[in-house]
C-alpha cells in the first residue's frame, strides 16, 4: 500500500514538473544535443538534407595553426572575461563594503545597479561615442589636459582593453547587489565582539567579512566568468566584427559570424563545444579553489 502511495506521489510530482521538464527538453536538451551533433557535420544552415558527416574535420580546422580561433580569438575571450570580472569584482567588493556603512544605502545600490538593467546595445553605443577620438567626452578631457587624443577603438593595443573596461563597469551593479546581500547576512555581533577585542577595520574585513562572504564571492565569480566568456553583444556593438583585424574578436562573436554570416554551422558548433569545455573547466577549478578555502555550500 505504502509503495503504491509512493508511486502515485512520484507520478504526481513528475506531472507537475512535466511543463518545466518539457520546456527544458525542447529548448535546452534538444538544441544542445543537436549542436554537438552538428559540430561533426558540414551544414550551411538551410536544408537538413544537405548535412554531410565530416567527423572531426571541424575540430581539426579550429585547432590548426592557421586558424585564428585559439589565438587571438580565444586569448581575447580570456582577456575580456578575466579583465571584466577583475574590474567589476574588485570595484564591487570595495563599493558594497563602503555603501553598507553609508546613509541612503538603497539609493547608492540602485545607482550602481542601473547599468545592469540598461540594454547592452545602449551602453555599447554610449561608450562608443564617449571613446570617439575626435569629439568623444573622454578624449575631450584628455586633449583639454594637453595630451594627444587616444584611438581607443581603432588602435589594436587599446581596443580590447577599452571594451573590457566597459564590460567591467557594466558588471559592477549586479556584483554590488549580490555582495551587499552577502554582507547583510553577516551577524553584527561578530563585529561588536571583534571591536571589543580591539580589532581595527582592516582586521575586521580580512578576518570576518571576507571569510564569511566567500560563498557569495564564489557565486559572483562563477556567474561573471561564465557571462564574460559567453559575451558578444558589447563587442559587436562597439567593434562590429571584432576589429580592427581580429584584435577584439571573441569566441561567441566568431561563432555567430561563422554560423549566420558564413553558413559554417559545423565550425560554429565545434567552437561552441570547445568554449563549453573551457567554461566547464574554469568553473570546476573555481569550485575546487573555494572548497579548499572552506566553502562547502556549492
Amino acid at each position: 500500500m505504502r509503495r503504491f502511495k509512493f508511486k502515485r506521489e512520484t507520478l504526481l510530482a513528475y506531472s507537475f514538473l512535466s511543463p518545466v521538464l518539457l520546456f527544458y527538453m525542447i529548448f535546452l536538451m534538444i538544441p544542445v544535443v543537436f549542436s554537438v551533433a552538428i559540430s561533426f557535420t558540414d551544414w550551411g544552415g538551410f536544408d537538413f538534407a544537405s548535412m554531410k558527416w565530416v567527423g572531426l574535420k571541424n575540430y581539426r580546422a579550429i585547432f590548426s595553426p592557421q586558424s585564428s580561433f585559439l589565438h587571438p580569438i580565444l586569448t581575447n575571450t580570456f582577456v575580456f572575461a578575466f579583465g571584466g570580472v577583475a574590474i567589476s569584482f574588485i570595484a564591487a567588493l570595495i563599493i558594497s563594503y563602503l555603501i553598507s556603512r553609508m546613509r541612503y544605502e538603497g539609493l547608492w545600490r540602485t545607482l550602481f545597479f542601473m547599468p545592469a538593467v540598461t540594454t547592452v546595445v545602449a551602453i555599447g553605443n554610449v561608450w562608443y561615442y564617449m571613446y570617439n577620438p575626435t569629439n568623444g567626452l573622454i578624449n575631450g578631457i584628455i586633449t583639454s589636459l594637453g595630451f594627444k587624443s587616444v584611438n581607443f577603438l581603432d588602435d589594436p593595443n587599446h581596443a580590447l582593453l577599452s571594451i573590457t573596461a566597459v564590460s567591467g563597469w557594466m558588471g559592477i551593479g549586479s556584483a554590488v547587489l549580490l555582495l551587499s546581500a552577502g554582507l547583510k547576512g553577516i551577524p553584527h555581533d561578530y563585529y561588536e565582539a571583534a571591536e571589543l577585542e580591539g580589532a581595527g577595520h582592516f582586521s575586521q574585513y580580512t578576518r570576518i567579512t571576507f571569510p564569511l562572504l566567500k560563498p557569495t564571492i564564489l557565486f559572483v565569480l562563477i556567474t561573471s566568468f561564465i557571462g564574460g566568456l559567453q559575451s558578444f553583444t558589447l563587442t559587436m556593438v562597439m567593434a562590429k566584427s571584432g576589429g580592427p583585424g581580429n584584435s577584439t574578436n571573441v569566441g561567441a562573436l566568431e561563432m555567430y559570424n561563422q554560423a549566420f554570416s558564413f553558413g559554417n554551422w559545423g565550425v560554429a558548433s565545434a567552437m561552441a563545444f570547445v568554449l563549453f569545455v573551457v567554461i566547464f573547466i574554469i568553473t570546476m577549478a573555481q569550485l575546487l579553489i573555494f572548497r579548499k578555502g572552506g566553502v562547502e555550500s556549492y
Binding site: I26, G44, F46, F48, M51, P156, S241
Partner: protein
Amino acid sequence: MKRWQKVLSGSLMVALAATATAACSGSKDGGSSGKKVTLTLLSHYNGTNEAALKPYIDKWNSENPNIQVKMTPVDFGELLKTIMTKQSAGQVADIMHVYTLWGGQLAKNNVLAEAPQSVADDVAQNYPEAAVKGASLNGKVFGYPTEVQAYGLFYNKKLLKEAGYDAPPKTWDELLEMSKKIEKKDSSGKVLVQGFGFQRGYAGLVDQPFMAMMAAAGSGLLSDDLSKSNLDSDAGRKTMDFYSKVYGKNGITDIAFNTTKGFGAGQVGMTIGAGWWDGSLKTLMKDAYADVGEAPMPTPDGGAGGTMAYTWAYGVNSKSKHQEEAWKFLQWMNAQADDSGMTPEGQFLLDTFNVIPSRKTDLSSAKVQEKLQSNPSAKLFADALNNALDEQSPAAGTEVQDILYKQIESMWTDQIQADAALNNAHTQINAKLGEK
C-alpha cells in the same frame, strides 16, 4: 537522407513544432493553375520601402486574383538569417530578393531554383554583363537583377577648389597628391578636413571600394572560375599598395576620422562610394549638396578603367510548390513595360531610390532618359555599369570578403605591413576557396 540525419532533423522539428504548424506559407492554398495561390515574397524592403513597393503588388493582386502575392519584409541585417531559419523550418518563401554575394552560399545549399529558359534569355539580352553575372550561379541565371550599383569617386568641389583644383583626379598618384593638399589638421594633429579617406565599419564598406579599385587597375578580386585569388596580380599589388598609403603609420590621414559622416558634413575632399549614396547625400546635405561631385574611378595610369558593381536579384525558392506562378509574377514585375515604357521594378527603383534601372527597356524609356539628361550623377553611375565587373560570389563569398577586410584593417592599424596583408589575404582566400 541518411538515418542519422533523419533523427537529427526530426529532433529539431519537435522543437520547432509550434512554428512548423504555420509552415509552408502560402503553399497551402493549392498548387496547379486555376486554383487560388498565395505567394510569399521575402525581401529587405521594409518601412517606407515596403510602402513604396506595395502599390505595385496591389496592382498585380487586383489583376491576378488567382495568384496573390504577400510581402514578408525583414531588415537587411536579418535577411540571410531569416532565409536560413525559414528554409530549415520548412517555412519557405516562394520569392526571395537576395544580395548576390550570398549567391554561392545559396547555390551550394540549393535554395534558389534555376530560371526558366524564357527568363534566362530575357535577362541575358536586357541587362549589362555585370548584372547578368550577378544574377547567375555556376553560369546559370537564377533570377532578375534589380538594384545594380557601381562604384565611383565622390568629391567635394568646394574643398578641391580651395586647394587649387578644378577637376577630380584621374590617376591614383594625383588622388594622393591632391588629398595631401586638401587635408587640414589642428595643432594637436586632429583632422579638421580630410583630403581622401575610405569609409569603414564592415567588410563590404571596405572591400567593395577595394574591388572597384582593383577593377580600375584591370582585374577582378578572384579568377573567372572563382577558384583562386587574383591579389598576387599587378592590379592586386597596386591596389593594396594604394590602400597602405591612406591610413596607418605612413598614411595620408587619420583612421579615427569618420569619413562617411565627414563627407556629409563637407569635411572630406574625396572618397569612394556606390551610386545610391548620391541620393542619401542629397537628403542629408541639403544646400551643401551643390558641392558634391562624382567622377569615374581613377586608375593607376589615368587610362580608361573599370569599376565593380554589386547586385540584388529576385529569385524563386527551389522548394516552392508554386514556381510557375512565382516566375509569372517576376516576369510581370521585371519585364513587362506599361504605357510609359517602364517595368514596375524600374519605376519602383527610380521613384524610391533615385536609382537608374539597369534593364535596357527601362533605360530607353522617356522618363529614364529625361532623368539621365537632367542628372549627371545618375548618368555617370548608369554608364559605369558598362565597364563594371560583377561582385564575385563563390560559396565562401562572405568569408572571402571577411578575410580581405581583416587583413586591410590590420594593415591600417599597423599590426602588419602591406606585403604581409596581401600575402595573408591571398593565401587564406585561396585556402578557403579550395575548401568549398
